[in-house]
Amino acid sequence: MNSIVDKAAAFDVRSWIRLEMMPHFLCPGCGHGMALRALLWALAELEADRDRLAVVSGIGCAGRLSAYVDANTFHVTHGRALAYATGLALARPDLTVVTILGDGDCLAIGGNHLIHACRRNLKITCLMLNNEVYGMTGGQVSPTTSAEMYTTTTPQGNAEPAFDACALAAAAGAGFVGREVTHHVPRLKELVKAGLSHPGFAFIEVLSDCTEIFGRKNELGSSAEMVMRQKSELRPSAYRDTVDTPFRPNQLPTGILSRNDRPEYGAAYRAAAAARRAGAAAMASAAGDPK
């Protein structure tokens, strides 16, 4: 059995990024790089046509990722990526539309757009990279900052409760909701693939690490330690089925968390419009009939 089928070898991330933009601007150890790899890997395995791939991103560290993808990329305004993507996806149903958002981008300034994108269920794959902090502006508290964590605007520790973005998306009606850690890149890739393959709106929360700002402020250790923590204590349910007992009770479940088969909005709209046109044509021909 000398012939080896190495599916992982088939994917070289360099063939999907804009080499002239490298090295990218992310801090050392930033989890967003792993998340971007998982997205590109998923697209590659689905053999996405990058000429017809549109990546729309907002503002912030996550927002800058679109510039590295060798596709049609749009780096738009803070919080509005889903609204831009809605226009793009409705106007151009032939495109595969992916958005990359940060946690503040998606849940704070863009929270309304998220809710309604979920409700509308238009075919968009939405990645929210949750690193619990506004990294690019220097480390302010975000809607997903865990309790008691220190940020530059929570000097006494965060007293606000954090959003459960997946519960929010599911409650708002998103067709597909999932969550994964960056540590488990192949698993994240599979989740993104499932999201990309879903006919409606797919919301995927990626638990990422801000090592340089959030990690340092809260003394969470080196990049490697933060990555290991994802596995050992942070959100163990990803590993629930691979070990005999969970490391600790599951806090944030991972994997595909909810899925429904509500109609995809774009297709539903086009079908209704086509029916309307057909009806109008029938009436016109009846009116034009001399009898």
Partner: protein, 386 residues
């Protein structure tokens, strides 16, 4: 008037309100996407388009808010589809964020702003002309923009069509500004035949992909745009960018691109400027007005002439960039200039800037009542007595 000649061929007469004429004009111009949010007094534009667009294979979507509707319009246009949104003052304020993006990233789009009173919620059902400066300077930073100011239902139809032509040609947002009175005024008009309406298309990128630079100026300073799906995989950003489209902070590069951006309308002023000048040749008193105020001014000028005052009317149709040269020419013989407007002097500021030496007065009102022709005529006569 240097606006394009009205087409010779006409179809049947229609009774239409300004907002409905706007919707019909948009579809006639090839608009196939509308995103909006309900707001008085512009909602009829959305309502009409929600019926019209699906009939022609377009898309109407009512978004969750004004920001989102502006964003969706830009998104659709980035996809290569002519796109429109319509709103009023409070919504126009919210749209400024993404309008700035469209200006900076050079994404064509058309924004209709049916002006109502302000500040804030103001008087939703009353006319105003107080968004002139916001239309020019509403978003942060320096950017070029076109604003058109129709004064009748027929002109709303015509200028909406023209707005798409300008947006597509110059890769810029175009604001169509009119007030509540003509928005909801119904007038009889003849609509041009569809075949008489020129379809102006965006210039799309062509040639070898590897040589394409998304923001390299063409001959006229307007870079051809890459249509998603055509094989040019480019980056679009609201950050300052180089010709490659990627972000830059290099001062020389920013100077070059921003310089081109700010100059791109200036170097095409001949095609962009539009105005109407009536009885200006011998005018000793020039009235400068737009929209409903211009309609009152026209009657006022007639009244003043009947009483022996040589009055003339200058009406900017393209409000931004402001038609300075035409105004200077029209005001060449004027001893006094009167600017009646439904705000506290926004256009007067611009007229004063253009006509530095002339005696300029404003006739300002912001209480929701239009200015009557007799008031303008009386003020004109008074100015000439001094």
């Amino acid at each position: 008037m240097n606006a394009p000649d009205r087409p010779a061929t006409r179809t049947s007469l229609r009774l239409l309100s300004g907002n409905h004429a706007c919707a019909l004009g948009a579809v006639a111009a090839g608009c196939r996407f509308f995103a909006g949010y309900p707001i008085t007094p512009s909602s009829e534009v959305a309502e009409r388009l929600s019926r019209l667009l699906p009939e022609v294979g377009g898309v109407f979507v009512q978004m969750e808010d004004e920001l989102a509707s502006m964003a969706a319009v830009i998104g659709a246009s980035m996809g290569g589809v002519k796109a429109l949104t319509a709103t009023s003052g409070p919504g126009f304020s919210l749209k400024q964020e993404n309008l700035g993006y469209a200006a900076g990233a050079e994404i064509p789009c058309v924004i209709v702003n049916v002006m109502r009173g302000g500040p804030s919620t103001g008087m939703p059902t009353r006319p105003s002309q107080a968004d002139l400066m916001q239309a020019r300077w509403g978003s942060h930073g320096d950017y070029p923009i076109i604003a058109l100011a129709p004064a009748s239902v027929r002109e709303i139809h015509e200028q909406t069509i023209r707005a798409f032509a300008l947006a597509e040609t110059y890769r810029t947002p175009v604001v169509v500004l009119y007030d509540q009175v003509i928005a909801q005024l119904s007038e009889t008009l003849e609509l041009p035949r569809a075949s008489d309406i020129p379809q102006v298309e965006r210039r799309w990128a062509s040639g070898p992909r590897e040589h394409y630079r998304p923001y390299a100026p063409g001959d006229d300073g307007i870079p051809p745009m890459a249509r998603p799906g055509s094989g040019y995989r480019v980056h679009t950003t609201g950050l300052h960018h180089s010709e490659s489209g990627f972000p830059t902070q290099d001062p020389a590069t920013v100077d070059r691109n921003l310089g081109r951006l700010l100059a791109k309308l200036e170097r095409n002023r001949e095609a962009i400027d539009a105005w109407q000048a009536l009885w200006c040749e011998d005018a000793e008193l020039l009235v400068v007005a737009i929209g409903i105020s211009a309609r009152a001014s026209l009657q006022a000028v007639r009244l003043a002439r009947a009483r022996g005052v040589r009055a003339g009317l200058f009406r900017p149709i393209t409000l931004w960039p402001f038609p300075e040269q035409a105004l200077r020419a029209a005001a060449a013989g004027a001893k006094a200039v009167l600017v009646p407007e439904l705000n506290d002097g926004q256009m007067r500021l611009e007229v004063e800037r253009v006509l530095r030496a002339a005696r300029v007065q404003g006739l300002h009102r912001s209480n929701g009542e239009p200015i009557a022709p007799a008031e303008i005529a009386a003020r004109a006569e008074e100015m000439m007595k001094r």
